[in-house]
């Protein structure tokens, strides 16, 4: 496991989070650069979503600090971190059900990035196109199916013009064909230079994008590096892949 102080990119130093008496993150160190695509795997309850939420500023930490491009953001709220370029999607999509798809995405492009009215429109339309939602732009979000809800999560995040995009099981529940579309979209984001941190259980989908893999278990990072090496790590096999391999 790597230990970091500060550097360019997104990094966490020794972060600790408890929910009641349960330690969900135990002194976790993490770092990624803007041009990286990092995957996170691990069993349920490993702390993956909590790490992502901590990086996005969804709650305050019990210990540790978080830096974005050498600026400490530990005490900054989720909305402030979004303005600085860190945005997340949610494992269970959270559409603004009473608003249309375009209105959902427009909120993001109006508030998540410094924009004029016209540029907010452009960012929103571009994000909708990139996410493949042109055909439902005027549809009420609460009438969308799962795939479109996931796409909406992505579109809203993209409309904020992020530097780091934190994806939480965005391929979960999708068919093979839908996953392929999603991977194509995420590869396009990579080409645009957006850093991707992606939690995913569907490993073969994740590996089409991730060039570095992290495995978590019981609130700790147990392996971090090249995907092939991580997936063959005995600790990872034991904790995540379900083998009793030595």
């Amino acid at each position: 496991m790597m230990t970091h102080t500060t550097s360019d990119g997104l990094l966490a130093n020794g972060i600790v989070k408890h929910f009641g008496s349960v330690s969900v993150l135990k002194n976790v160190d993490f770092s990624m650069k803007t041009d990286e695509a990092v995957g996170i795997v691990g069993p349920n309850g490993a702390g993956k979503t909590t790490l992502l939420s901590a990086l996005a500023g969804a709650f305050s930490l019990d210990e540790g600090s978080i830096f974005l491009n050498n600026q400490e953001v530990t005490d900054k709220s989720a909305s402030e971190r979004c303005s600085l370029g860190v945005v997340r999607t949610h494992q269970i999509p959270k559409p603004f059900g009473g608003m249309t798809v375009f209105e959902n995405v427009l909120v993001a492009s109006s508030y998540g990035v410094d924009s004029t009215k016209e540029s907010a429109y452009q960012f929103a339309l571009d994000a909708i196109q990139l996410s493949g939602m042109e055909h439902v732009a005027n549809r009420q979000a609460d009438s969308l199916g799962l795939l479109d809800r996931k796409r909406l999560e992505l579109a809203r995040a993209l409309a904020t013009q992020p530097k780091f995009l934190l994806l939480d099981e965005i391929a979960g529940g999708l068919t093979e064909a839908e996953s392929i579309q999603l991977v194509d979209t995420i590869k396009e984001l990579r080409r645009r230079g957006i850093g991707i941190l992606w939690i995913e259980h569907i490993v073969h989908v994740l590996l089409q994008v991730a060039e570095r893999l992290i495995c978590m278990d019981s609130g700790e990072i147990i392996a971090d590096g090249d995907p092939k090496t991580v997936l063959s790590d005995p600790q990872v096999v034991k904790a995540y892949l379900g083998g009793g391999v030595e």
Partner: protein, 337 residues
């Protein structure tokens, strides 16, 4: 930018909404001329209708757009009337007192919001009722008010009966038009989109850059200001300030009824609901307790069987959007939705 994004345009107004605004303008003009031809009785009733419209629009903005369901908005209705009495008592013209009183209520609502907006859902709703009760008791402590005995806005006697009625009518009409315009443009602005996003999912809204506290506070203060104005205007019409009446939860019940029946979260729905409530009150209030029972039963029936209210249903069936606060993407190549 992508090709599709270049081809489409964003529409805010539709031909029907432009026509609706023109009709609304004509209606307002006719209403403004009503003192020239309408009886005093009619002016008095229309004044009540305008106040109901203000109350419904404000509660709808708070609950329907902002998701802040409150059963304590009578707090601001009562304070609006109370400060009008207080200001008139120090020698201010009663009609100037009305405007100033609404501003004071808006200012007072700010520190209240600091506490109350920490509460969510049912806690906020009931908490606001508690705030209303506390403010009612505090107002009763003012010697000028003489407890529940109350006091009259005697400075209205400086105006003769005819001109007083006309001023009250026009002031209420102007206030209604001004407050509806204010609400309309706030809800159409990017703040309005943020308000709705927070209503639907505060955590998700925060994650894309919205600052919920600031946004909700603005809405809370605007609603308090509007309802304070309504309370002050009601006092000029009813003349006597009885704390028990003005701080009664019945005002919140009326607001809820109007919005539920007209269409929660629909700008036009609140106005329609106020008109329906006004007609029901005009025709059936003489039936006493059965009138109140019927109001409750109708509200429950709408919640169960027509949760989007009459306007919501009309909008769904006929795609009516006369006063749209949202956005529509117009694709000249393809419009299949």
């Amino acid at each position: 930018m992508s090709q599709w994004a270049k081809n489409v345009s964003i529409q805010r107004w539709t031909p029907s909404s432009r026509r609706a605004v023109m009709v609304a303008g004509v209606v307002l003009l006719v209403l403004a001329l009503a003192p020239l031809f309408a009886s005093n009785g009619m002016l008095d009733r229309l004044t009540a209708l305008f106040i109901y419209v203000i109350l419904a629009a404000m509660w709808n903005a708070l609950a329907g757009y902002g998701g802040l369901i409150s059963v304590g908005q009578q707090a601001f209705f009562g304070l609006g009337a109370y400060f009008t009495i207080r200001l008139a008592n120090v020698g201010l013209d009663p009609f100037i007192s009305v405007g100033l009183s609404a501003v004071i209520v808006g200012v007072i609502s700010y520190p209240i919001s600091l506490i109350m907006l920490r509460l969510k859902g049912g806690e906020f709703a009931i908490g606001m009722w508690v705030i209303a009760s506390i403010l009612h008791l505090m107002v009763n402590l003012d010697g000028l008010i003489q407890g529940e005995t109350g006091i009259s806005l005697v400075s209205l006697n400086h105006y003769d009966s005819g001109s007083r009625l006309t001023i009250i009518y026009l002031l209420t009409l102007g206030s209604m038009a001004g407050l509806l315009t204010l609400l309309f443009f706030v809800l159409r602005s990017k703040t309005g989109s943020a308000i709705q996003a927070i209503r639907d999912d505060e955590e998700a809204a925060t994650s894309i850059g919205v600052k919920p506290e600031k946004t909700k506070r603005l809405l809370f203060v605007i609603a308090a200001f509007g309802i304070g104005a309504a309370g002050a205007l009601w006092l000029t019409s009813a003349t006597t300030f009885l704390p028990k009446t003005y701080f009664s939860v019945q005002w919140s019940a009326y607001m809820i009824f109007m919005v539920l029946v007209g269409g929660i979260g629909k700008f036009e729905g609140a106005i329609l609901g106020a008109i329906i409530f006004f007609l029901v009150e005009t025709w059936f209030s003489s039936t006493g307790v059965w009138y109140l029972v019927s109001l409750g039963a109708i509200a429950i029936a709408f919640s169960l069987f027509l949760p989007k209210g009459i306007w919501g249903e009309l909008e769904r069936r006929f795609n009516w959007r006369f006063l749209p606060v949202g956005y529509r993407v117009e694709d000249p190549k393809k419009e299949k939705q």
